[in-house]
Amino acid sequence: MSNTRATAADSASLDTFPRLLMHHAQQRPNRPAMREKEYGIWQTYTWAEVAERVRSIASGLAELGFKRGDRLAVVGDNRPRLYWSVAAAQCLGGIPVMMYQDAVAQEMAYVMQDAEIRFACVEDQEQVDKMLEIKGDLPLLEHVIYDDPRGLRHYNQRFLHGLDEVLEMGRIHHQNHPDFLGNEIDKGSPEDVSVMLYTSGTTGKPKGVCQSHSAFIAAAQGGCSFDKLTDQDDILSYLPMAWVGDHLFSYAQALVAGFTINCPESGETVMGDLREIGPTYYFAPPRVFENLLTQVMIRMEDASSIKRSVFQHFMDVAKRCGADILDGKPVSAADRLQYALGNILVYGPLKNVLGMSRIRVAYTAGAAIGPDLFRFYRSIGINLKQLYGQTETCAYVCLQPDGQIKLDSVGTPAPNVEVKLADNGEILVKGPMLLKAYYKRPDATAESINAEGYFMTGDAGFFDEDGHLKIIDRAKDVGKLTGGGMFAPNYIENKLKFFQHIKEVVCFGNKRDFVTAFVNIDLEAVGNWAERKGMAYAGYTDLASQPQVYELIRECVEQVNADLASDPNMSESQIKRFLVLHKELDADDGELTRTRKVRRNFVAEKYEVLIDAFYAGRKEQFIETQVTYEDGRTNKVSANLRIEDAKTFPPQARKAA
């Protein structure tokens, strides 16, 4: 199907995103390109309509003085009109700079200064207010365009424009200069920078990753042919637009394959919207899959005993044979029959509740996914796969091929991508999807791409016997215990995070005698557990300090220790001491990145007293921490944290408990 999509002559000229867009507007003008839920009803925009709007926005931007090479900051939730403005900037040879919508004003100011932004297209009043707050620090910023006019009627700054106004200006401009935009699109080259995405800044300040049209198109084409995506597919676009994954799936692949993207009504309605749309192609970080499963499990715990036992029975059947059926492996007739029955009674309705009835391909990435979690989705017949990639590689390095799914690998190198390992285990990649450069940072660019043109990912991993890549940890995070054993914090943390009661873990142990851990409990799961036990608690801090909760976490820790003991490489990194933190790690306090990864060094510095207490053998430690609320106010929380010891196991021992 995919090779009939465009003739050979066509595809040669389809080398930039604006050309792809115009191509779809001609080839399939009446197919839905985008849907958005407005006033409770899904509104559809066809490819022809999208092309017309993009042309108008682009012409409007030109009227405002947007020039080739200018950068357009784009901030907001996944709204069709923001995607259009991305395409509009590209039509003019400009570069959209995607920014995280939940970033506070000061973080935005940094990116906007770094990228030398003259034009910004933002979603709503909230974002406009941030722009006004930092306008003083941004002498280059000339125009701010907003999508949703609500609450902005009394804003009379000259540099503020409604997107409707820009659209109208563009329509008039297009009437007067009908050839203008076509010429601009013709001037575009596939080697032009198509977008700038900022790295999350796990280490140091964020860097602007410049990706060319050809890089993103190569990554998108590879992915589309790998998973046989066509213009009949549907995807729900709900992950931050500034994240490379969303740009690949909802923008690049949608424009390459011509499928439909669906924008949810708001962040809170994603679950319901997912059910209504029933996408065929779905992407979510492990956290989302985990939350969905947690919600299902919590609801099952409250169900009647008959329902619970039916559920349990068929989940056991699924565990036994579900994944094999999905992979096309031989399964006994009796099991097939049972599975078919289960599909009617449990899996089908469950998938429907999750909004996953129509899914052909689902991906997860961004963090390691728990084996139980991964197996659960595959066993009920959802083709969940893992991929591996980073902002610098258009999120396109390794993909799991259908039918060859391994829980702890990220699959084989994707089409046209070359992967090799450095001597220290670091993963190196080369291919058409590599970044052009970090913006204005030749030093960083030179540092990350070696002499042979390989991008150094900074991840440590190895290939297994079937050529599947396994990721262990960040290469620089892998350390050594004083006893000489390897310490891979992520590896241990992920094992713990797979327990539903644990939300976040930070391990310490590099150049120390033994491994210790900070634990964040999952308020929803533990709260529900506490409720059923009849325990009273006043909030996160109170719940986290309850002795029963410590017991609950200790069980998890000891289970992980037993597991680690059976792995000869890891047996020394069993967790000897742990504590449950009094507050949730939060991006607003700088403890997590905006993509919710732990900033290890920052946490280590901030909670130094706790780490000292671990290794000094203290039983408890007082700590006071400042917390920042979403509106920027700060407050202090303090607690006397208990530190507990966990049982460890001799190497090679089987699970004793």
Partner: protein
């Protein structure tokens, strides 16, 4: 401020209300101007809710006159008040707990529905068209108050603060000229109060709705009101912009008491 305070829309003159021998309101005069936020404050039992009930026709004062949009108002029943564009919310939430948020808000459109019961029961032709038109209005309100995610949730399952917001939504669905809010923030936490304040200001700003508000939280009242009237034991003891009222010795006495 772009919002223009207009002419007097409700003018209450020398209102007295008695329940048997109990005087609820005594000789109270004040007015409400178009597009303003007018607050009524006072200690418990001061007669605030009675005052609202007089405005929307639940109680009929024994003495005094009410001018509504310049015309002397005869004895008016609540449904007539509603038809003339006066909507209200209640101190104790008065929603249909078993119905969804959407259905509850739809009831706010009740008065604007032209088709009869039978047509609606059949849901055919004009009735269907009408319902769709009303649904659009309701969806606008849902978006305005940011309650899209609970559209299909039964009201009884919602937390208190959200129920209050749904009640406001239902009142708004009637597209009122005057909105009477009876303690919209009672029992809310700080964040919910902030949200509610923002919505009240937004409603006033966006739709130009005149708002008469009863509220106990002085911070809120002084922040968002254009003018405040103060009642105590059924008598008016203060009236004016928040700054004046705050410094009025009578008001301070009523709220804090005096040493004897």
């Amino acid at each position: 401020m772009a919002r223009q305070i207009g002419d007097v829309i409700v003018d209450l003159q020398n209102i007295s209300l008695r329940f048997g021998g109990v005087k609820a309101l005594t000789d109270i005069s004040f007015n409400v101007k178009e597009h303003e936020i007018r607050s009524i404050i006072g200690p418990n039992g001061a007669g605030k809710s009675s005052m609202l009930n007089v405005i929307n026709g639940v109680y009929h004062p024994q003495e005094g006159q009410i001018f509504f949009k310049g015309a002397l108002r005869k004895k008016m029943e609540p449904h007539e008040a509603a038809e003339q564009g006066i909507a209200r919310t209640f101190q104790n939430i008065a929603l249909f707990k078993g119905m969804t948020v959407l259905d509850n808000i739809m009831t706010g459109r009740n008065l604007k529905m032209k088709c009869n019961f039978l047509q609606h029961a059949l849901y055919w032709g004009a009735a269907q068209k009408e319902e769709i038109a009303h649904r659009i209005k309701v969806e606008e309100v849902i978006e305005f108050l940011e309650i899209q995610d609970i559209r299909k949730t039964p009201v009884g399952r919602l937390p208190y603060g959200l129920q209050k917001r749904v009640e406001l939504a239902r009142a708004l669905a009637a597209e009122p000229h005057i909105l009477l809010l009876d303690e919209p923030m009672a029992g809310m936490n700080v964040e919910e109060k902030q949200d509610m304040c923002r919505f009240i200001l937004d409603v006033n700003d966006h739709y130009g709705t005149t708002i008469v508000l009863i509220e106990h939280d002085m911070g809120v009242v002084m922040d968002i009101s254009d003018r405040v009237v103060v009642l105590d034991y059924g008598k008016k003891i203060g009236d004016g912009v928040p700054e004046e009222v705050k410094n009025n010795p009578e008001v301070i006495k009523a709220y804090l008491g005096t040493s004897h």
